[in-house]
């Protein structure tokens, strides 16, 4: 395996009672980068990340390598180098923040200074409060601090901002970005599109235990035939004629030419679907000018990660 990969998963399968929860997952996380595993609930995110952490008794089939090692076999060598934040608490409910941090620090050979870390995470003012009485944001920050105190090369964060208010989420995001600045590799799971958009260098969308799409944010949201253009004009324009006018533009690519579709979504509100190229825009303005029409609110939109995600995973709610 390439030394540039922090995590590599090939063909991972994990079944529970015969039912595959992870079903042929391929995924890589490059060292020094933030990689997000994005998927709806039940997609197999936690199972996959916990197999990387050495839990769940390992894969049923497939190859998992963490920092080049098999987590099931080389757990003893990996644990000092990897930080883990679980979805469950994992903290003694009566332990105070600094106490919990100091305890974890004693389990590592070369830990970060506990007071500094607590200070950076805004936990110092809560040092007399047991874990169970901390706010959700404070609990989450303490869990993150516990994953970091051993100076890991790689951290696994399972839904690091679950249940947090917006301020706490931003604070956790800042911390995760700082990790990257310090050269730490991060693999996180999330079902929040904006979280993946805000943090990740690389995003893998998984559903039903498989990777359905993978790439940088730019790659995932690139306008490859799914963007749209909207404008307003007088109601009742001949949309068929406009579509033909666009398609007759000789500079359009063949693929785009075949996909052009113009609809009047509401009286006077028009949508041009298909890949939008510079020539598409000029075709529309020339045609409407010939009709003596004044356009307003002309807008082209790049699709968001949310569009991509919902296209791939469906719009119906899942439990």
């Amino acid at each position: 395996m390439s030394p540039t990969l922090a995590v590599s998963i090939e063909g991972l399968v994990k079944r529970y009672r015969g039912r595959p929860v992870v079903d042929g997952l391929n995924l890589t996380a490059v060292r020094g980068q933030i990689t997000a595993v994005l998927g709806p609930n039940g997609a197999g995110k936690t199972t996959s990340i916990e197999i990387c952490e050495g839990y769940r008794g390992g894969p049923d089939s497939g190859i998992v390598r963490v920092l080049g090692l098999d987590p099931l076999v080389a757990g003893g060598r990996l644990r000092p180098r990897v930080g883990v934040m679980l979805q469950v608490d994992g903290v003694y409910s009566t332990a105070r923040p600094l106490e919990a941090l100091a305890h974890r620090a004693r389990l590592h050979a070369n830990p970060l200074p506990v007071e500094d870390l607590a200070d950076r995470l805004g936990l110092t003012s809560r040092q007399a409060t047991p874990y169970r009485r901390l706010s959700g944001g404070e609990q989450q920050r303490l869990k993150l601090a516990l994953a970091l105190v051993g100076r890991p090369e790689l951290v696994f964060l399972d839904e690091p901002t679950a249940g947090l208010d917006p301020q706490s989420r931003l604070a956790v995001w800042d911390l995760i970005r700082e990790l990257k600045t310090d050269g730490v590799s991060v693999l996180l799971t999330t079902h929040l599109m904006d979280e993946a958009e805000a943090l990740a260098d690389h995003i893998t969308i998984i559903d039903h235990g498989r990777a359905v799409l993978s790439g940088t944010l730019d790659e995932l949201t690139a306008t490859d035939g799914h963007s749209s253009l909207t404008f307003q004009a007088s109601p009742g324009l001949d949309v068929g004629a406009l579509a033909r006018a666009i398609a007759s533009q000789s500079s359009l690519t063949q693929l785009t030419r075949e996909e052009v579709l113009v609809t009047e979504d509401a009286p006077g509100r028009y949508r041009v679907a298909g890949a939008i190229e510079p020539a598409t825009l000029s075709a529309i303005t020339i045609w409407t000018a010939e009709q003596g029409e004044m356009l307003s609110n002309l807008a082209t939109s790049r699709r968001s990660l949310e569009d991509v995600f919902l296209e791939l995973t469906g719009r119906e709610l899942r439990s």
């Binding site: 952490e53 990897v82 679980l86 409910s93 332990a95 106490e99 305890h103 389990l107 590592h108 051993g150």
Partner: protein, 243 residues
């Protein structure tokens, strides 16, 4: 690393009020109550020429071991599992044997504290132990091993609430009928023959044989404790679910 873990377990243990009630306050109350009052027919053993305190103290020491190694440890471990503490510890450099060693260390330190406090109170009440203190120590260690193994067996298999109920229920049953503080001779004969092969009866009676009656090492009681430690330890090792 193991010491770091043991230190944390100790700190949380000492801070826990219910735990303190179970490990310190209740045994002291029982020690004083059973010695000063004759309501309970446990100690009408003046016929053997020993003071009540000499009969009561070994039993209360056995009870102290049971409360710390079994009840306290089972409940704490059950909730550590429930909150994922043990799962997350599995991702740290602390190996699994290290966690067990740390728990044993923490339990031993608490027990030493209990023995010091209970002995001081007992001496104040006129306790005069006889027999070999080394033999008594060996029995206490074997008892600790047996009860710890049982605690981890229960905490490793059942949910936290079930562990809480079982650990307290078993404690109460053994306290009343398990031969811990009540000498086996004072139990109905059927009950006594069962209690004799339970770790509670073996530890309580073994300590009384040594400290009250000055007898040599009760090998039978020791064998019962070692068997429980080995059997429950093996099962706990096989069944404990860390995740």
């Amino acid at each position: 690393m193991v010491w770091g873990q043991a230190l944390m377990e100790l700190r949380l243990n000492v801070r826990n009020g219910e735990q303190l009630l179970l490990t310190a306050i209740f045994p002291v109350i029982l020690l004083i109550g059973l010695t000063k009052s004759s309501v309970v027919a446990i100690t009408d053993v003046v016929d053997i020429g020993r003071a009540r305190i000499d009969v009561v103290t070994p039993g209360v020491l056995a009870l102290a071991v049971m409360s710390t190694a079994f009840t306290g440890q089972a409940i704490a471990t059950g909730f550590e599992r429930r909150y994922g503490v043990i799962k997350l510890l599995g991702s740290t450099p602390l190996p699994r044997w290290g966690l067990v060693a740390a728990k044993t260390l923490a339990v031993s330190v608490v027990e030493c504290g209990q023995i010091v406090v209970l002995s001081a109170v007992a001496f104040g009440l006129g306790w005069s132990p006889s027999g070999s203190l080394v033999n008594a120590a060996v029995l206490l260690i074997a008892g600790t091993a047996a009860f710890s193994a049982l605690a981890l067996l229960i905490a490793g298999v059942f949910r936290a609430e079930a562990t809480l109920a079982l650990a307290n229920g078993i404690y109460l049953v053994l306290l009343l009928a398990g031969g811990v503080v009540v000498p086996l001779e004072k139990l109905p004969s059927g009950m006594a023959s069962i209690a004799r092969v339970l770790p509670s009866g073996a530890l309580g009676q073994g300590l009384r044989d040594v400290l009250t009656h000055g007898q040599p090492m009760p090998w039978g009681a020791l064998a019962v404790l070692v068997t429980w430690a080995a059997g429950a330890g093996f099962l706990a090792h096989r069944t404990f679910r860390w995740e």
